[in-house]
Subunit: 146 residues, 2 copies
DNA sequence: TGTGAAACTGCATCGTC
DNA sequence: GACGATGCAGTTTCACA
């Protein structure tokens, strides 16, 4: 994990479909060398995968919310969580609430229906997202490069 | 946006670095046709980009938390948010709190330091993530395909 | 839009340092 | 580890349906 690996991570976090050749040009290193470094970063688990970022609104999902939930019924609630397509992110947390969910639904009505199902598992509190300033900022500190 | 587009989105959300040829095999369609559909999905903004998923712990970031914040000082707080590398996701929300942040830091000590800076902008409440059940589940309902 | 064929480009691999 | 060369795989482009 040196400076070059950081550059690779930064570039590929920006655009996961960039070709290895283009990357090798950007960081002034041969193509096989970049390929080998990428392979190792994947192997070590530094890179866990590559995902397309999709637009919820273009997929007719207009409501995003965070749901905090306090449940005793953990086993059952986790099964419910796995099976609910509305839940995009699912975290266990410390504090008054033991679960935090990011939920994306078509409208506020479908969110309401989801919350009613949630409330069978415990007490919940919901924060509706009004707007997203940014999402998924790079974890790599040194993001400055060409 | 037909069934084939859904398949393309599902596949590319799963693995953004898949080749178009491999995709064209999976969905039994010619490679130029898939390329053209991909191009349109990007152009329409359905696909907003492609990101590598990095492992926080492999980058020596062991603490993830969600910070709820109530601030009157919105302009200044948003500038602070833009400039803070610890903040990975930044949302404006309805309810008692008007901001929700996902924060990733090295340790609980660095989280504490960050929270102290936050508290100059208003009242905050923090939920520390104990574990992540899943993250970034597909928005495309029909995720079943080979 | 979708297809098939041809030219081009990028990638995996190997030998070398 | 990184480089340069090479054969193969993937992509782009185009004429045609």
């Amino acid at each position: 994990m040196d400076q070059i690996d950081n550059q690779i991570l930064s570039i590929i976090h920006e655009n996961a479909r960039i070709t290895v050749s283009e990357m090798s040009r950007k960081i002034a290193m041969s193509q096989p060398a970049v390929t080998e470094r990428l392979r190792k970063l994947e192997e070590q688990g530094v890179i866990k995968g590559y995902k397309a970022v999709l637009s919820p609104s273009k997929l007719i999902k207009y409501t995003t919310a965070f749901v905090l939930l306090k449940s005793n019924n953990c086993k059952e609630f986790e099964e419910f969580g796995e099976a609910s397509p509305e839940i995009i992110d699912f975290y266990r947390t410390s504090g008054e609430y033991n679960y935090l969910l990011k939920v994306v639904t078509a409208t506020s009505e479908t969110l309401e229906a989801f919350l009613e199902r949630c409330n069978t598992f415990g007490f919940s509190s919901t924060l509706v997202v009004l707007s997203t300033r940014f999402e998924d900022k790079s974890l790599v500190a040194d993001a400055k490069l060409l």
